[in-house]
Structures are given as structure tokens and as C-alpha cells.
């Protein structure tokens, strides 16, 4: 199939990695693909082997395509009649749909297929008026998994069982909650928590260190051995694979490509979902309040995920 793909594959973030993975998957399935990147002002992937893959797909020429795939935020998706078949894989945030966005989904669902990958995306999109929704299961391309990668050396922490997560952006509630839980419940076990922060800033690193110290102080726990390790990393596939290979059990805070990547690398996974319910005891307004967890952290409950890929099925069925 001759496919035109527009997506964020040159961006160094999870959407960018999903985009890269989709391109590699399409190539592995034997499709001819021409790609066009989109940018949003965030970091770009480094010039590595994968960039040469993009350079190849960007140089493909043509103006006749069987399928156009737009892998973009809904605000950037456009309707076009230039290509007969359209697949939209919207990049969703967790904010839900505005009335305008909902309207746009309704419109595009009339002339194309809308893909979603996670339960939370389905929840956001699952309205009566948006049709043509299809669950897209993907696996990690061998091109990504075959990257040469080393293992991080954490010195004295190497002997601990390493629970780890990869998170970007701000220090969200879920990660704060995870840190509190880990420090208060597992300080005495031979566990450590490694938080990999891709493309981070010194400011965010300082915030993490300050926060961890405060938790130890507030809960009167000996800080002599801090079991929470913050590791700034570059967002490139080699480093990400290294991070996953270094950790023992992946803590999945959100369903995203990192969870699938960890699973593809044979890691055990514990899903950690935390809803922000904070209740303050009367007359005892401590800084962090008393936090109630909808779901408790149970690090001993972890499992593997079976990855499936229905990309070819979607393409052959639809286009």
C-alpha cells in the first residue's frame, strides 16, 4: 500500500516515539510510506540511526496515495479529499473534549477511521456521536528494540530490586503520590525506586530532590540512604532501552509507549493509578494533608503484558 503519513516522529517525546514506531511497523509490513514531520517547539530527536530512516521516508516522492494517516492532536488534523482513505490517530491529552473538538471528531469520523490505543483515550472519545472508532494495538518494532544499549550503573543501589518509571513533564500528582508511598512503605525493603526523567530541567530536578527530602523529614524516616533515585536522561531510543534494561519492574503511571516498551523488553509491570483525593484532618492541616489513595501501591503485584499488533488487520480491513 502507498501511504502518506503525517506525524511527530522527529519529536523527542512519547508521541514522537509512537510515531517512529508506527513508521517502522508500516515499513516492516512492506508498505511504501512517505512521511512528513510536524513540530511543536519541543525537543527534537538526536541525529541517530532512526533519523536516517526518516530521511529515507521523507525523500520518497509521489502524489498518489492509497491512504493518508494523520497522527496529530485534533486541532492539527485536517479533512482532505486528496487521498481517498483517511486514518486519524489523534494525540490526546487527558483534558477531555471541548465542544469544538467534539464537533471536529464527529466530522472526521464520517470520512475516516479514528484510532485509539488506551482505555483512557477510549473513555475520552467514546461518545454517541463519534463513530468509526477502532482500537489500535501495536508492538514495538524490531528496529527500535535492536538498538545497542548499555545498563546504567547505580553503584551501591545495584544490589536492590529496582522499581522504575519513566516520566516527563511536571511533577504530577501521581508521581508525588508514588514517592510518598514508596518512602513510607518500602524504605526498609531491598527495593529502590528509580525515576528516569527525559529532557528534564535543573529546576525540575531540584523540585524532585526537595520533595523527596521533605517526605523523609515529614514522615521522620532516616534519610541516610535515599531509596528514590532521580535520573535525568536524553529522550532517545538507545537511552530509553538502557533505562528499561536497567530496571527490574516497571511502574506504569499511564498507559503509553513506555509500558509497551518495557513489556517488549520482558519486564514485569505494576500498574499504579492514583486518584488525587486529599482529605485534611480537622485541626491538623499538615502541609500534605492526609492522602487517601483510591488504589494502593502494591509492588508485589506485577505481571507481564501480552503485546498484540492489529495494524495490518486495520489497514487491510479499512483501506
Amino acid at each position: 500500500m502507498n501511504i502518506l503519513y503525517i506525524g511527530p516522529y522527529r519529536l523527542a517525546n512519547n508521541s514522537g516515539l509512537e510515531s517512529t514506531n508506527l513508521i517502522c511497523n508500516l515499513m516492516e509490513l512492506g508498505h511504501k510510506i512517505m512521511t512528513r514531520p510536524v513540530f511543536d517547539g519541543t525537543n527534537l530527536v538526536k541525529n541517530n540511526e532512526l533519523v536516517s530512516v526518516f530521511e529515507h521516508t521523507e525523500q520518497n516522492k509521489g502524489s498518489k496515495f492509497d491512504l493518508l494517516i494523520q497522527h496529530l492532536p485534533i486541532s492539527r488534523i485536517v479533512q482532505t479529499s486528496k487521498v481517498k482513505n483517511n486514518i486519524y490517530w489523534p494525540i490526546l491529552d487527558n483534558a477531555g473534549l471541548s465542544p469544538v473538538e467534539k464537533k471536529k471528531y464527529e466530522l472526521i469520523s464520517k470520512d475516516g477511521l479514528i484510532l485509539y490505543n488506551t482505555k483512557s483515550d477510549k473513555t475520552i472519545l467514546d461518545t454517541n456521536t463519534i463513530s468509526n472508532l477502532t482500537k489500535f494495538n501495536y508492538t514495538i518494532s524490531n528496529k527500535l528494540l535492536s538498538k545497542n544499549s548499555s545498563i546504567f550503573n547505580f553503584g551501591i543501589y545495584n544490589r536492590y530490586k529496582k522499581y522504575y518509571t519513566i516520566t516527563d513533564g511536571t511533577m504530577e500528582y501521581a508521581i508525588q503520590n508514588l514517592i510518598i508511598n514508596f518512602i513510607t512503605k518500602f524504605q526498609n525493603k531491598d527495593y529502590c525506586l528509580v525515576i528516569f526523567l527525559p529532557n528534564t530541567t535543573q529546576n525540575l530536578l531540584d523540585q524532585y530532590q526537595k520533595y523527596i527530602k521533605e517526605i523523609y523529614t515529614i514522615f521522620n524516616i532516616n534519610f541516610s540512604i535515599n531509596k528514590v533515585i532521580i535520573v535525568p536522561i536524553d529522550y532517545d531510543i538507545e537511552t530509553l532501552v538502557s533505562a528499561h534494561k536497567t530496571g527490574d519492574i516497571y511502574i506504569s503511571l499511564k498507559d503509553n509507549i513506555q509500558t509497551i516498551l518495557s513489556s517488549s523488553l520482558g519486564k514485569q509491570i505494576t500498574h499504579y493509578r492514583s486518584e488525587p483525593i486529599i482529605s485534611y484532618e480537622k485541626n491538623n492541616l499538615k502541609k500534605f494533608g492526609a492522602i487517601e489513595y483510591k488504589e494502593k501501591l502494591d509492588l508485589d503485584q506485577h505481571s507481564t503484558i501480552e503485546n498484540t499488533n492489529n495494524l495490518e488487520e486495520i489497514l487491510s480491513h479499512y483501506a
Partner: protein
């Protein structure tokens, strides 16, 4: 929300005829681009487009570069003249770095050399194209062209006007054949800076005074003016012997139209734009 210009531009650059967003000084070159049927030229992003054009490398590097990123289209910078003298070697190196994501179109090898930018496949050379325009009777004497309301040119006009009464200031801003028809009526046009405007005015059959250094010396109807102090004497002299001069100007017109063939220019320019617009827009930081 229902449409997105960046994504529309990506699609437009793959499937559509070239649409150029002319983010540059409106001049005769712009007028000539507007008249080409091989591509469309627009001056505001009111519809999807496939290339961003600029004629000011320095301004583009400082303020307009992000437009290319916002609109997800490749940019083509037109180098009509040499760099300002104030631009030092190190400034040129910085400029070169800032323009690394842009294609650069030079209208002569000398101009390309004068900017001192790195030689890359993004550097392109092309000759101007000058259209053949119906001739008008030279019923008026002198005009001073000042589309961009330059104070220095305004003062020059006043200086000439004090001596030569039949002298007009052309400062209207219209981008169609009207301006060309107006210029065509003058025996002598004074166009201090713009190379393209100078060539086009010379092709209309009159004399042109200019300070542009990028003029082919074979064209005798273009007189290079270094110092405007004695311009009135020169004008008087040329006007006095107009009948003699007029007879020799026809040759220049044929030369200009031969060297700067408009159809060849349109075709080459369109091919350049197609080649650039069909390439994926990427950028390096």
C-alpha cells in the same frame, strides 16, 4: 480549529500547484511574480501555501524564521543585493547558521559570493526575468521611484524638482501593470537601489539612473550614479540630447529581453519552488 494551516500546508505542498507566500517588500519583482500562471503568489496566509518567500535575509534570521516553523513550509530567501557594509565576517557566520534551514536564491554569483555563506545544496543561482511590455510614448521627462517612502530618496526628488520642473515622484504602492505603464511614460527613471526595478525600467525603453552595483555593464541605458550632487546637470544634458539617446536604446531592450528571458525565468523559478516545496519541511536547532 476545524482547519489547521500547518497541516494544510504540508498537504498543499505535496498535492497542489505552488502557492508562494510573499513575506517581502512589495516591489516590481513581486508584481512580476503575481503575473505568472505557473504558480500563485499571495501576500498573506489566507489560504494554504507551499513556500515562504523572503527578500530580507537579516530580518528573516531575526524575526521571520519562526514563521517557517509555525507554518511547516520550507522558506526561500531571495538575495537581490549585496549585504550591508555593516555586516562583518562574524555576523555573516552567525547569519549562515541561522539560515541553515532555509533555501537561498541568489540573482548572481557575485551576490552569492558577497554574502559569504557556506556553499550548500540549498544555495541556488538564477537570472532575473524581464517581461516584454507594450511601449508608451515618452511623454514625460523624469521620475524618481520611491515605493518604500525612503527619506533620502524623497530629499533627492526635492533636490531635482528645484531645477527640473517636469519631475515626478512615483511612490504609489500598486502591484499590477499600472505601475509599469506609468514608468514606461518617462524618458529617465531614477531608481537608486533596486536592481530588478532598474532592469525592468530599462526594458521600457528609457534611461535609468541607479546606484545598484549589480547591473550588467553592457546595458548602456542604465547609468551608474555614485554621487547624486551633480545629478541635475547630468539630467539636463541627457534630456537635451534625448533624440540621439532614444535611437540607441532599442538595442538595449533586445539585449535585456534576451538575457533576462521572462518565460525561462518563470519556468526555472517554478521548478525551483516545486523542488523545494516537495521536500519535507525539517529544521535543525
Amino acid at each position: 480549529m476545524l482547519s489547521n494551516i500547518a497541516t494544510s500546508n504540508i498537504i498543499s505542498s505535496i498535492f497542489s500547484k505552488n502557492i508562494l507566500l510573499y513575506n517581502a517588500k512589495k516591489d516590481l519583482f513581486f508584481t512580476i511574480l503575481l503575473q505568472c500562471e505557473l504558480f500563485n503568489t499571495i501576500d498573506s496566509p489566507s489560504q494554504p501555501f507551499s513556500i515562504l518567500l523572503s527578500d530580507n535575509p537579516i530580518d528573516f534570521s531575526q524575526t521571520s524564521m519562526k514563521m517557517s516553523l509555525i507554518y511547516h513550509v520550507n522558506s526561500l530567501i531571495l538575495f537581490h543585493k549585496e549585504p550591508p557594509q555593516a555586516l562583518k565576517k562574524e555576523d555573516k557566520a552567525i547569519l549562515d547558521k541561522k539560515l541553515k534551514n532555509s533555501y537561498r536564491l541568489f540573482f548572481s554569483k557575485d551576490i552569492e559570493k558577497s554574502w559569504g555563506l557556506a556553499t550548500t545544496e540549498k544555495n541556488i543561482n538564477i537570472e532575473y526575468g524581464i517581461p516584454k511590455i507594450d511601449q508608451h510614448i515618452k511623454s514625460k521627462n523624469v521620475c524618481v521611484v520611491n515605493y518604500h517612502k525612503d527619506n533620502g530618496i524623497q530629499n533627492l526628488y526635492q533636490h531635482i524638482k528645484n531645477t527640473i520642473i517636469d519631475c515626478d515622484l512615483i511612490d504609489i504602492n500598486t502591484y499590477n501593470n499600472e505601475i509599469i505603464n506609468i514608468l514606461s511614460q518617462y524618458k529617465i527613471c531614477i531608481i537608486p537601489h533596486d536592481t530588478y526595478d532598474t532592469l525592468l525600467a530599462a526594458s521600457l525603453g528609457g534611461l535609468v539612473y541607479t546606484s545598484s552595483t549589480q547591473i550588467d555593464e553592457s546595458i548602456s541605458s542604465i547609468e551608474y550614479i555614485k554621487d547624486y550632487n551633480s545629478i541635475n546637470d547630468r539630467l539636463k544634458s541627457d534630456l537635451d540630447r534625448w533624440d540621439t539617446i532614444d535611437a540607441s536604446l532599442k538595442e538595449n531592450q533586445s539585449y535585456i529581453h534576451g538575457k533576462y528571458n521572462i518565460d525561462k525565468f518563470y519556468s526555472e523559478f517554478n521548478n525551483i519552488c516545486t523542488s523545494i516545496s516537495r521536500k519535507a519541511f525539517t529544521y535543525e536547532t
